[in-house]
């Protein structure tokens, strides 16, 4: 990454010696996570919530300012809410849901990412990535099951029979640590990936982009504004998006031949921004010049080493699918790993992580590649076609729909062997393989959103019809119409609920089975299948 213009440290942490460094032979842990980025921290907190201890190793000891992720999706916020950070993130973040696309000075397209109410979490918030990381660290250090070790750089990875041995460099020298499972959350330039000699296959886009975070007081609405060929940056594209603390993210497309060192110099940056922002006073917080990649590992699961987040897949930022997908990776993996570690599911369950999140990675890479190609066409003829779409957009609805400035991250729908296919028809927005939609409900204490009532385990939503059925042991059942009341009818509508209907949710709240009337055997089979126990 590029060096910051003003390299401010937002959070500083200290190196502390661990007893493992003095052990005669390498200590053994159930889970070691390499990398305390958003993904590694999410995984550790989720593991701790399931009673699994984890060591996190990170080569840095600070979270610095820098322009990385700003847009966090509804799905990420729902996951963070389960981990205890939802309110804090939404409070600090800038909530938004509208995007506008301009051609020159004229609006040609707009989108609303959450056109309905009745959801606890907003469609998106904008928040500097360092705040998210800082909050996650604060949450992690509250949890005694998490052992967070700064300035611990992994330099070698050895795969052994039944465990992984990590070699770790610290300010006080080197030590070794053994682990049943190693989660490689060490980012796009993953050292763990290099150590295993794995190829990161994909495409680097030629185009260069200037990313600037500027501080200013401005009256622009909290919407995502994207321009093709704006008057202030002729022939290129531009993006403007608000962050907390009066900071605004600006992306300016520079073309493939731009010199990254020259373009970062204030004498080049400031006039570009002045043309965009006019007379307004602003301060530069950070500037960098990026070239983007889309790439992935063929497999995320390599024996006892599991790749999660950017180490497994990388996308260009149009669509905000990087951190948002990594957070979903972590959630997808952790409940499965916890079941395996507790002896409740076979190791082969982890294959479904590879499959489900591999599908998600392909989907994300597809979207972000198409967006980047639309924004920065690769050939002259592609540009002619792209410009044709933009020229038609003011005149024809179909062309507006083709305008692609980024398709923003939504939850992935899994086509998975863990899912039990429907035998009856269901409508509504709840879909097999997707996380269940939220809905406003009531319990004895007052108004509650559905998602707030869900736990970390498998659970059954049962639409009351007479007596409560006897569910399989250990499965938590919530009766809609008794434990939770659907006064507004929104649950009924979103789940296409009828009396007696039952919905089985995985620990990550993805819907994995449903039926029009509760049937104990079908639920038992669906549960076994979702735990990878089905033959």
């Amino acid at each position: 990454m590029n060096r910051p213009a003003a390299n401010k440290t937002v959070y500083q942490f200290g190196y502390r010696r661990s007893a493992d460094q003095d052990a005669a032979k390498p200590a053994r842990r159930p889970v070691v996570i390499v990398g305390a980025g958003p993904v590694g921290l999410t995984a550790a907190i989720d593991l701790a919530k399931r009673g699994i201890p984890a060591v996190i190793l990170d080569d840095a000891d600070r979270i610095g300012e820098g322009s990385r992720a700003i847009c966090f999706s509804k799905r990420s916020l729902e996951i963070m809410d389960r981990l205890g950070l939802g309110d804090r993130l939404v409070e600090k973040g800038v909530v938004w849901q509208l995007g506008k696309v301009f051609l020159g000075e004229h609006q040609v397209y707009s989108f609303d990412l959450l056109p309905e109410t009745g959801h606890r979490m907003p469609a998106f918030i904008n928040l500097q990535q360092y705040y998210l990381e800082g909050y996650l660290v604060e949450r992690a250090v509250e949890l005694p099951l998490i052992d967070l070790r700064w300035r611990n750089r992994v330099t070698a990875v050895g795969k052994h029979d039944g465990f992984v041995r990590l070699t770790i460099e610290t300010p006080e020298g080197q030590y070794e640590l053994d682990t049943d499972w190693c989660l490689a959350c060490d980012g796009a330039r993953s050292k763990v990936r290099d150590c295993l000699g794995l190829k990161f296959e994909g495409h680097t886009f030629e185009e260069r982009f200037l990313i600037a975070d500027v501080k200013m007081s401005a009256e622009y609405p909290t919407e995502r504004w994207f321009w093709f060929d704006p008057p202030f940056h002729s022939g290129q594209s531009a993006l403007l998006h608000r962050q907390p603390d009066n900071v605004w993210r600006i992306d300016l497309q520079l073309g493939p031949d731009a010199d990254p060192e020259e373009e970062k110099k204030p004498e080049r940056v400031l006039p570009r921004l002045e043309r965009m922002l006019g007379e307004r006073k602003f301060e530069l917080e950070w500037v960098s010049v990026y070239r983007f990649n889309c790439a992935r590992l063929k497999k995320f699961l390599h024996g006892r080493v599991i790749f999660v987040g950017d180490s497994a897949h990388q996308v260009s930022p149009f669509g905000a699918r990087g951190a948002n997908s990594g957070i979903q990776d972590a959630e997808n993996l952790v409940w499965k790993l916890a079941l395996v570690l507790n002896g409740e599911a076979p190791e082969s369950l982890l294959e479904s992580y590879d499959l489900e999140r591999g599908q998600a990675a392909d989907e994300n890479i597809g979207h972000s590649t198409r967006s980047t190609d639309f924004i920065a066409p690769r050939t002259k003829q592609e540009r002619v076609l792209r410009n044709a779409v933009l020229q038609l957009a003011p005149h024809a609805a179909f062309a507006r729909r083709m305008v692609n400035s980024g398709r923003l991250s939504v939850a992935s729908e899994y086509d998975s062997p863990l899912t039990t296919p429907d035998r009856e028809d269901f409508g509504g927005s709840a879909r097999l393989g997707l996380p269940v939609p939220d809905a406003p409900l009531e319990d004895s204490g007052g108004k509650r959103f559905l998602l707030q009532t869900l736990t970390e385990d498998f659970q059954l939503l049962y639409v009351k019809d007479g007596a409560r059925p006897n569910v399989p042991e250990g499965l938590r059942m919530t009766a809609i119409g008794e434990d939770l009341i659907d006064r507004e009818g929104i649950f009924t509508q979103r789940f296409d609920a009828t009396p007696g209907a039952a919905y089985l949710l995985r620990p990550d709240h993805h819907l994995c089975a449903r039926m029009r009337s509760y049937n104990g055997n079908r639920i038992r089979d669906a549960l076994a299948r979702a735990k990878g126990l089905a033959k």
């Binding site: 003829q381 002619v384 076609l385 410009n387 044709a388 779409v389 020229q391 038609l392 179909f398 062309a399």
Partner: protein, 64 residues
């Protein structure tokens, strides 16, 4: 399975061809390319069937 129609579809194909030629007459190369691109998009959307579009693309490729 062929879904793309390659039989003549126009009552007066010569008139259709003339309309296309007419649209390009006196246009520069760049204008023509841009016009073609817009036309392709408009007609593709009118067809509104990805399978037909892909077959048309492969026929166009093969013939060139």
């Amino acid at each position: 399975m062929t879904v793309l129609k390659t039989e003549n579809g126009f009552a007066n194909p010569d008139a259709a061809y003339e309309a296309l030629v007419e649209a390009h007459r006196r246009a520069s190369e760049a204008e023509s390319a841009a016009l073609n691109a817009r036309l392709v998009l408009i007609l593709s959307n009118h067809i509104g069937d990805l399978a037909v579009l892909k077959e048309a693309i492969s026929l166009a490729r093969k013939a060139g």
